[in-house]
């Protein structure tokens, strides 16, 4: 120690070396200062943005879709509160653990959750949310909430669940909602350019009214900004003004309500009747001015299952069902109209004076055209009959002869005016036009001349004629109104949440056939009277094909028909239809309006694979018309009950089924 104390000069040896320290320390300070200047001053704004994005999470507040109501304000489609569980991969700290906890609660295999999260991370990046399950049960919500805090990345969100109280009833009309698909996203953004903006994960209407009215009932989504910490937990800082002033939440705007022309009571009566008879097929009921009252397509899907996450099994079942529950059979399917076509031919023949009101024609069981036999559905034929009888009993041979006299082009002139072979213009998407042939059409599309024999089959609604149920119902409605063609519609008005009417549709007459039309054709009131009387007898005459289904106090006027699903020889036609496998049975038609003398409502039913129009479709039409009058004109039914004393109403089972072609 003494050495050091006694040699103070020794430390001078180091003196020259301190300058290196000064230099190095100064350089370090300078470098750090430059770097800090660069980060905090030059890149400061940009990095501040990054740090803001870190903590501010933008959350979309989905707008509730507008309600869909019936003509009297009864709910057809509504919203219910629901819960869904989502994962945000950016905050997941232990994926295996999370999957192990959450999987059993929501009924998913943990491995599947892991692969889903990994795939989403890869494909969509760490910030895209993954919807694990929608429409959680209360118990699921409760159990998830218990593990929620210890499981970063797990979120339980309140959602709005679309609810269809009628379930399968009218499902194809109301449609369903589900998440927008990747394919649809650019298409819809293009279609609604400047009006709506869709994003991945949005719930949109996929069919029916939900699809058609997307822009009206959708509403505007809101945004909320919440502050989260590094683990994704919502956090409020002790200092309230830290969120800044420029960021503020935006509320969602409720979508507008849609009021339909549908009457929920009539709709339910129709469904009940379909179910009672265990029918499949389609139904449409409209007021005479074109307002659709009921719309049914059976079998159907339950749109509530789509609103939640539909299971792959259910989906496969739906799309592989041979009876096509996803299809809106009112407008998307067309069939041969069969005998329901005869009133149209009658109109043309009477107007063209090919037959008169009183003229009698011989209608045997077989009619030979050239050498070929054309059969009546009734083996013995109908003997000598006039136009009223021919309609009442549905004589094929009578109409064969009218077909020959008229020729296809005359038939075309009149019948196309009734709307056959054209879209009716109803608001819903994917309506098919059906087909009303003429000679030129055949030449163009088949490359052949029209054959005389084809006039016969056309006259009884077979051959190239194809019609949708909506067309048939509209055409019958026109006959009921003696020539006034209305445009059918189902959307009455769009109303905002305060009840202000934004859009309203009114009955619209397209043309009046009693006036001369552009093609030089008109149909006189007298002609309509004759055909209407024939149709009245179908439901009321002693030999009418639909005489078993009556409503006390209200007379229906209509026509039955059968659409063959495949070609049969004469013998096979007579063979008992009901003994065939169900998919080979004929479709039954019945379209009618009521009251017969001053119609208010027209109802069409296509009863698929029910063999006959009278037993298959007519009782449903009767039920629906009866439900309408019981609701809107109970006095007529009551009067009818008084007048008709103990009138036997025969059951459908007892009805003779061979009378109808």
């Amino acid at each position: 120690m003494a050495d050091y104390v006694n040699n103070p000069d020794e430390s001078k040896e180091y003196w020259g070396r301190y300058k290196y320290f000064y230099f190095f320390i100064s350089m370090t300070f300078l470098t750090f200062a430059i770097r800090l200047w660069y980060l905090q001053i030059i890149s400061g704004n940009e990095l501040r943005d990054f740090s803001e994005k870190n903590r501010i999470k933008q959350m979309k507040i989905p707008a509730p879709r507008g309600l869909i109501l019936d003509r009297q304000g009864k709910v057809l489609v509504q919203n219910l509160p629901g819960f869904e569980v989502v994962l945000s991969p950016q905050y997941i700290s232990n994926l295996e653990e999370l999957a192990g906890h959450v999987g059993p609660i929501v009924g998913l295999e943990p491995e599947k959750i892991i692969t889903r999260v990994q795939r989403s991370r890869r494909v969509n990046g760490p910030f895209a949310l993954i919807k694990l399950k929608e429409n959680l049960s209360r118990e699921e919500v409760f159990r998830l909430k218990r593990i929620h805090l210890e499981t970063p990345g797990l979120e339980i969100r309140e959602t709005i669940l679309r609810h269809y109280p009628l379930e399968k009833n009218g499902a194809q009309l109301f449609g369903y909602v589900s998440e927008i698909s990747k394919k649809q996203l650019p298409l819809l953004n293009d279609l609604y350019k400047g009006i709506l903006k869709f994003e991945q994960g949005d719930i949109i209407g996929k069919s029916g009214i939900e699809e058609n009215l997307e822009k009206d009932i959708r509403g505007t989504d809101g945004v909320s900004f919440i502050q989260v910490d590094a683990h994704g937990r919502e956090t409020s800082l002790k200092n309230p003004n830290i969120l800044g002033e420029k960021i503020s939440d935006q509320d969602a705007t409720h979508g507008n309500n849609a009021v339909l022309t549908i009457d929920r009571d009539v709709q339910e009566a129709a469904y009940k009747s379909f179910k009672k008879l265990d029918r499949i097929g389609a139904l449409v009921a409209m007021k005479s001015d074109g307002q659709v009252l009921a719309w049914l397509s059976e079998p159907a899907f339950d749109p509530n299952e789509f609103a939640a996450t539909i299971s792959p099994q259910t989906w496969n079942q739906l799309i592989n069902d041979p009876f096509k529950p996803m299809r809106n059979k009112v407008i998307q399917d067309h069939h041969s109209p069969g005998s329901t076509f005869k009133p149209f031919v009658a109109l043309a023949a009477l107007e063209e004076k090919k037959i008169t009101e009183t003229q009698i024609i011989y209608a045997p069981g077989v009619f030979y055209f050239g050498k070929r036999p054309y059969h009546d559905h009734q083996k013995g034929g109908h003997g000598y009959i006039n136009i009223y009888d021919a309609l009442e009993r549905s004589s094929n041979v009578f109409f064969y002869q009218l077909g020959i006299k008229l020729g296809i082009d005359k038939m075309y002139d009149y019948i196309s005016l009734l709307g056959i072979g054209q879209k009716t213009g109803i608001e819903l998407a994917r309506e098919v036009p059906g087909n009303m042939p003429n000679a030129a059409w055949k030449k163009q599309y088949r490359g052949e001349e029209w054959q005389e024999g084809e006039n016969l089959s056309t006259a009884i609604g077979q051959g190239f004629v194809n019609t949708t149920l909506m067309q048939m119902t509209l055409a019958y409605n026109t006959i009921g109104l003696k020539g006034k063609v209305y445009k059918p519609y189902v959307i009455q008005k769009i109303v905002d949440q305060e009840g202000k009417v934004l859009k309203e549709n009114f009955p619209q007459m397209v043309r009046d056939l009693q006036q001369v039309q552009p093609n030089g054709v008109k149909i006189s009131e007298h002609t309509f009277d004759i055909v209407r009387e024939g149709m009245r007898r179908v439901a009321n005459g002693d030999r009418g094909t639909a005489r078993f289904w009556k409503i006390p106090g209200v007379q229906m006027a209509g026509k039955t028909g059968t659409a063959q699903v495949m070609g049969f020889s004469a013998d096979q036609i007579y063979a008992n239809c009901m003994s065939r496998p169900i998919h080979m049975r004929h479709h039954g038609w019945f379209v009618a309006f009521a009251p017969a003398d001053n119609p208010e409502i027209t109802v069409g039913v296509l009863a698929e694979h029910s063999c006959h129009g009278n037993t298959g479709a007519a009782p449903i039409v009767r039920d629906v018309i009866q439900a309408y009058f019981e609701k809107y004109h109970p006095e007529m039914i009551a009067d009818g009950m008084k007048n008709i004393k103990i009138k036997k109403v025969q059951s459908a089972e007892k009805a003779e089924t061979t009378e109808d072609e």
Binding site: V5, P8, E10, Y18, I25, F29, L36, L47, S51, E52
Partner: protein, 374 residues
């Protein structure tokens, strides 16, 4: 003797280096303010108590500082090797029985205090090297191979043991401190040149065989942090956002979202400077490193005025200790250096670091205290 004692007592306050004490105090105050913010976020219940702990460490640190000041630093010549070997034993103990934290064995758990012997080893290293190096008289030519053998051996043993934990940061720190001291004591030119060549050849080999994967990742991440923003690059990126978003005046005390919302990792220890930069901006950041620079210049002045080579070497050692920590820590936080787990002296939370730093500064204070004693 009685006379001299009374003389010492009279001039005790005058002989203290008040500049040194004030600068240290200033850094302490900044450190405490900042640590309070870092440990009092909305969700940081579990770290709140650390602030009080730090105050305890600080008081203990100042006690050690004044004890060291009053003791003649010549005492270190006698006990240097003892401290060194006890410390070495502690490291050996830690290597085999220590507490595992963050994938490395570093601590001996005393219940109230988790002692990290590799931290105090830095000071022990300074003590023995100061003794050995100040005794070398090379007549201005610098140390040759023979003279270097012993100091290098003293370095290599703890280096290997600490690398084994594995604690690359501390091992590098010890090397940097010792290396600077050795260079300061002068090394012959041809040895310097061959050492430089040797290091440049051995680096690739070290990369391949010595470094752990996580350490390689840190280096790779440093070179391109945006490549993997959620994993290894996360810390570097979040720190960059924190520092940059502070802008000129900072977001304000306890308003730094990066730290308060826990986006910053290790925010009360290794990333304490990010918290400071975010909340107090360019002004606060520059003030802090400016204070460090003043501290460094004060230490250099003490070394310069030291009564002997040993005191000067001791002061240089402590200077290197604080400088290299500050250099690596701040360099890492502001994205100039890869992520290495090194605390920022006087600001980071931690008892071992605080006590070691204050003890080291106490020694220097002792050197300053005795500069007039001839």
């Amino acid at each position: 003797m009685e006379l001299s004692v009374s003389y010492e007592e009279k001039t005790l306050l005058k002989r203290l280096d008040w500049n040194l004490i004030l600068v240290i105090l200033a850094l302490n105050v900044i450190g405490l303010i900042n640590l309070y913010s870092a440990t009092h976020g909305p969700n940081s219940k579990e770290v709140e108590s650390l602030f009080v702990n730090q105050i305890v460490w600080l008081i203990s640190g100042w006690s050690v500082f004044f004890i060291a000041t009053l003791l003649d630093y010549a005492l270190v010549l006698k006990i240097g090797y003892i401290v060194y070997f006890i410390n070495l034993l502690a490291i050996v103990y830690v290597d085999f029985f220590g507490k595992i934290a963050l994938g490395a064995q570093r601590w001996i758990d005393f219940g109230f205090f988790r002692y990290q012997p590799s931290e105090t080893m830095k000071l022990a290293m300074i003590m023995v090297l100061a003794k050995v190096l100040s005794a070398r008289n090379t007549m201005g030519k610098g140390m040759g191979f023979k003279e270097l053998m012993w100091p290098l051996s003293l370095l290599v043993i703890p280096f290997v043991l600490i690398m084994k934990q594995p604690d690359l940061g501390t091992a590098m720190m010890i090397t940097a401190i010792s290396g600077t001291m050795i260079l300061f004591a002068r090394v012959r030119k041809h040895i310097l040149i061959s050492a430089a060549i040797l290091i440049s050849f051995s680096l690739p080999l070290a990369w391949k065989y010595v470094l752990h994967d996580y350490q390689k990742n840190r280096v790779l991440t440093f070179l391109s942090p945006e490549n993997d923003p959620r994993k290894t690059g996360y810390n570097a990126l979040q720190s960059k956002y924190a520092v940059g978003s502070g802008q000129f005046f900072g977001k304000g005390f306890r308003k730094g979202t990066q730290s308060q919302l826990e986006f910053l990792p290790e925010r009360h220890t290794d990333f304490i400077y990010s918290v400071l930069s975010e909340e107090h901006g360019f002004v606060g950041s520059i003030t802090t490193i400016g204070l460090f620079c003043i501290l460094f210049f004060l230490l250099i002045r003490i070394a310069y005025q030291s009564r002997d080579k040993f005191g000067a070497m001791l002061a240089v050692g402590v200077l290197c200790y604080i400088f290299w920590h500050m250099f690596v820590n701040v360099g890492m936080v502001i994205g100039l250096l890869p992520i290495v787990g090194v605390p920022l002296p006087l600001l980071s939370y931690g008892g071992s670091s605080m006590l070691t730093t204050m003890a080291g500064l106490g020694l220097i204070s002792s050197v300053a205290f005795r500069k007039y004693l001839f």
